[in-house]
């Protein structure tokens, strides 16, 4: 596996017919794309095997080899053929049922474009990685992944309201500053960072979101992210190394994390427990020499155990968008795209109600009692403050929304 990067320049010169003068990576033909997608769809072909196979041979040739069933000719698969003949049997079955033209039709139906490592369009940031996916499926504008600055924002699926707030603010702030937000479209922090990025897409100079998912490009997981998924594909790009139709298997998500870590020049962890997917992303990022920033959290919040641990180990803190931009070597513009900066000041009548909100959440009854208002008046004031973005509601509880400092509630 460690020898893979040495093959890459050779793969870049593939097919040899294109000549020896480097005029940029070769264009991937339709037949080659279909063959590559079909190879990626083979059952039990791991990212490593696929990468070695495609490093050795162009996709069409590789497919012909697999279809012939005689893998002894190919050193990268010879060991596999010798040790696991069953895998080869399954491949042969698969070859007859899913030929490249059918796989191509399936990709087209899912709206997925296919790119192969070493070919034109394949994101440069992934190209040089030792564990880069050999075949990349994308929905949206893949060029987004090759230009501009990129920051990965990840965190726990089980986030607190404050954590989600911060993720939205970071996403919005980074995108507005022209930095692409890379994330995984998971529940919690991942989804929120992209929501934030999407919220400023209408601004001039904003950067599109990049999502890397652990399922096929057409298998929405979690299901409730259908709209978010579509919006990210519309504004930016959704990437996957798995062919369309691949379901959500737990083991695929850590693999997805290595791509997030690779794509981001920096990794920002908003909230993470002491163990979990985000911490795996952190180790992937560290392995690749990427800087990791962590958002400080309360020492009592389990959701911040991991990030606080990172801080104690010496990671720089990401207190707001400014910290991240500085870490990227950019100059933060004051007041850029922070949610708090856009709120209209509350009506004078509502200020007394807003003043009640400190650290604690309050409900309608509490507000009416503390402000000595009728329930009707209290409900109206809470409704206005919520609409104005000053309060957020969770069930029957209201909490003060993140303050202008960008540090959340």
């Amino acid at each position: 596996m460690s020898s893979a990067p040495h093959h890459l320049p050779a793969a870049g010169g593939d097919p040899p017919a294109l000549g020896s003068i480097p005029i940029g990576p070769p264009v991937l033909g339709e037949a080659a794309a279909a063959a590559a997608a079909a190879l990626a769809s083979l059952p039990g072909i791991t990212p490593g095997r696929l990468r070695r196979l495609l490093a050795a041979r162009p996709p069409v040739e590789a497919w012909a080899l697999v279809a012939s069933g005689d893998l002894r000719a190919e050193p990268s698969l010879a060991t596999l053929a010798a040790r696991h003949p069953r895998v080869i049997d399954r491949w042969l079955q698969h070859v007859s049922t899913s030929p490249p033209d059918q796989v191509a039709v399936r990709c087209a139906a899912a709206g997925a474009s296919v790119t192969v490592i070493g070919h034109r369009g394949y994101p440069e940031s992934l190209q040089s990685d030792a564990h880069a996916p050999a075949v990349l499926f994308s929905r949206g504008d893949l060029a987004v992944a090759s230009k501009g600055r990129r920051v990965a924002v990840v965190g726990t699926r089980n986030a607190t309201a404050a954590g989600r707030d911060i993720a939205v603010e970071l996403g919005a702030g980074l995108a507005a500053a022209g930095v692409h937000v890379v994330s995984g479209l998971a529940r919690g922090i991942d989804g929120c960072s992209h929501r934030g990025a999407l919220s400023v897409q209408s601004d001039p100079g904003s950067a599109a979101p990049i999502a890397v998912v652990g399922t096929g490009i057409d298998v929405i997981y979690p299901k409730e992210h259908q709209q978010l998924w579509d919006a990210v594909a519309e504004a930016g790009v959704v990437l996957s190394e798995w062919p369309p139709g691949t379901g959500a298997d737990p083991w695929r998500f850590p693999l997805r994390n290595r791509m997030i870590a690779t794509l981001g020049e920096l990794l920002v962890v908003v909230e993470s427990r002491a163990t979990g997917g985000s911490m795996l992303t952190v180790s992937e990022a560290e392995r690749r020499g990427r800087d990791v920033l962590a958002v400080p959290g309360s020492t009592r919040s389990r959701a911040s155990d991991g990030t606080n641990q990172l801080l104690s180990e010496g990671c720089p803190p990401a207190r707001d968008v400014g910290d991240v931009l500085v870490a990227l070597g950019l100059t933060p513009t004051p007041g850029s795209a922070l949610a708090g900066g856009r709120r209209r000041p509350p009506e004078p009548v509502d200020r007394t109600v807003l003043a009640l909100f400190g650290a604690d959440a309050l409900d309608l009854g509490d507000v009416a009692r503390l402000a000595e208002l009728a329930l009707v008046e209290a409900a109206l004031a809470l409704g206005r403050l919520e609409a104005g973005g000053w309060l957020v509601r969770a069930g029957s509880w209201f909490e003060a929304a993140g303050t202008g400092g960008g540090r959340g509630g």
Binding site: H225, G365, R369
Partner: protein, 502 residues
């Protein structure tokens, strides 16, 4: 010889007249019951035989055939013992046919010849109301609610003597004194909980289904039990339906008619049939029918089997439940006020965001037990929090049950003037006419719809609750923004926590 005696059986909450035909002829001694009897009716033979012999009456040593007409319906219940015995006495010549003419008989027999009460006397008597109805002693009050002349029978011997004319009909036993009125729980006992108490008041006034969400000890059950006393007395029509249901379910009716709205609070292990009614032949009314006209309180809503809760959906919409079995079908009344109570999460603590120890997945799974369509039918969904020490030790609440009842009756009267039983029944297409909005209220609803915090269906429910709020408050025609804002706050999005985690 042949004798035909009118009697009745119960199907659902309705009585059906049955002719008990007894034929006694020469032949090998034997006794057959035909006409789709079930096990309890077939057992009548042994009870009737023993009762006759114990009473010193003859058991014919002849061929006896009992037919229960119409033969198409399956017969169930022991109330046919008495008509079979009387028919036997007439057919065997022990009683003259004229003595029983114009009489219908209902009752179970003991082996000693005593006549025992049976469930469902009210619908049974209603089915044979054109006759003089002979019922077991102790059932006369109930039978008299629906039938004209009612006679009572204590034992078979007495009955025969009265029928022949040897003795007068026995007097109905003295009516037990009606149970003393226990003072209903008062709303003023609840300290704090301003929002929840308002919700209780609105539920009673507008007939809005209410869901109380809160940790154990917050007072959900206490609040729910204070809702039923706020409901207005039943109208005569509903009272009769409720009485039929209670009688058919075999419940004692100490006060005669059911006049106060009933309160039913089944345990969460209740089966689907226990909840909606059913059974193979009798189609016994379930809890939702027993709560007809009153309040069905389901504590620990999330612990009920999902099928049981989903079984409530159609009755909640239509106010009746149609139970159909291969051999029988019945339509039972089931218009009730649903009050649910649930914990916010498995650990039960809930509370402000971040204070509960449940994982996100556990919480989602817990809330998912309450199916969306069922949750959607609650016009009012309020979170009940544990009252603060200030509230517990503070002065008692100003509004007691007595004050609230006055407002409830006024709102119900306003609804009646609009041609509705209650505001919750406001049809969506008449909302603009009966619950017009001020421009400010309209703007508020538009904002909520645009932000996605209110759905189209939720909109109608919020407008109905706002109608009740205004009716309770001052009875204006127009709904203002305050009422709309408050109505929206009284319909907590239970999936908020789910939505926010996305």
């Amino acid at each position: 010889m042949l004798a035909t005696i009118p009697s009745a059986i119960v199907l659902g909450t309705r009585g059906h007249q049955v002719s008990v035909e007894v034929h006694v002829s020469t032949g090998l001694p034997g006794f057959t019951i035909v006409g789709l009897p079930d096990a309890s009716v077939r057992e009548a033979r042994d009870r009737v035989r023993a009762a006759l012999l114990s009473s010193g009456l003859p058991w014919p040593q002849q061929r006896v055939t009992v037919n229960l007409a119409p033969t198409g319906i399956r017969k169930t219940g022991s109330g046919l013992d008495l008509p079979i015995a009387v028919g036997l006495l007439v057919a065997s010549g022990r009683l003259p046919a004229e003595s029983v003419a114009g009489h219908a008989f209902i009752g179970e027999l003991g082996l000693d010849g005593s006549v025992r009460r049976v469930p469902g006397i009210v619908p049974l008597a209603a089915a044979v109301a054109e006759h003089v109805v002979v019922v077991p002693a102790g059932c006369t009050i109930e039978a008299a609610l629906v039938a004209g002349p009612v006679r009572c029978a204590t034992t078979l011997t007495e009955l025969v003597a009265a029928l022949i004319g040897d003795e007068p009909w026995p007097d109905a036993p003295a009516q037990p004194p009606p149970p003393p009125d226990i003072a209903p729980p008062d709303l003023a006992d609840v300290r704090g909980q301003g929002v929840a108490k308002l919700a209780i008041e609105l539920a009673a006034a507008g007939g809005h289904h209410l869901l109380l969400i809160g940790p154990p000890g917050a007072g959900k059950t206490m609040l729910a039990h204070r809702l039923q006393p706020l409901l207005p007395p039943l109208t005569p029509e509903v009272a009769l339906e409720a009485t039929m249901v209670h009688s058919a379910a075999g419940m004692a009716l100490p006060g005669g008619m059911v006049r106060r709205p009933p309160l039913r609070a089944p345990h969460h292990t209740a089966s689907l049939v226990a909840m909606v009614g059913g059974g193979t032949t009798a189609l016994r009314p379930g809890e939702i029918s027993l709560a007809h006209g009153g309040c069905l309180f389901l504590d620990e809503l999330g612990e009920f089997a999902p099928a049981v809760l989903d079984g409530l959906r159609q009755p909640l919409e239509e106010g009746v439940v149609r139970i159909t079995r291969a051999r029988a079908a019945a339509e039972l009344p089931a218009r009730f006020l649903l009050v649910g109570a649930t914990n916010p999460c498995p650990c039960g603590q809930g509370g402000p965001p971040g204070s509960c120890s449940c994982g996100e997945v556990a919480r989602q799974r817990y809330l998912r037990r309450l199916s969306g369509p069922v949750l959607d039918r609650f016009d009012l969904r309020v979170e009940v929090h544990r009252p603060s020490p200030d509230e517990l030790l503070g002065p008692p609440a100003r509004d007691g049950t007595g004050d609230v009842i006055g407002r409830v009756l006024r709102t119900r009267a306003l609804a009646a003037a609009r041609g509705l039983t209650c505001n919750a029944q406001l049809p969506a297409e008449r909302l603009d006419e009966l619950a017009p909005l001020t421009p400010a209220a309209r703007a508020l609803l538009r904002l909520a719809l645009e932000r996605g915090s209110l759905t189209g269906r939720g909109l109608h429910r919020v407008r109905r609750v706002a109608r009740t709020l205004v009716d309770q408050d001052r009875g204006d025609d127009v709904i203002d923004d305050g009422a709309v804002a408050l109505a929206m706050s009284l319909r907590v999005a239970i999936n908020d926590r789910l939505r926010m985690s996305a």
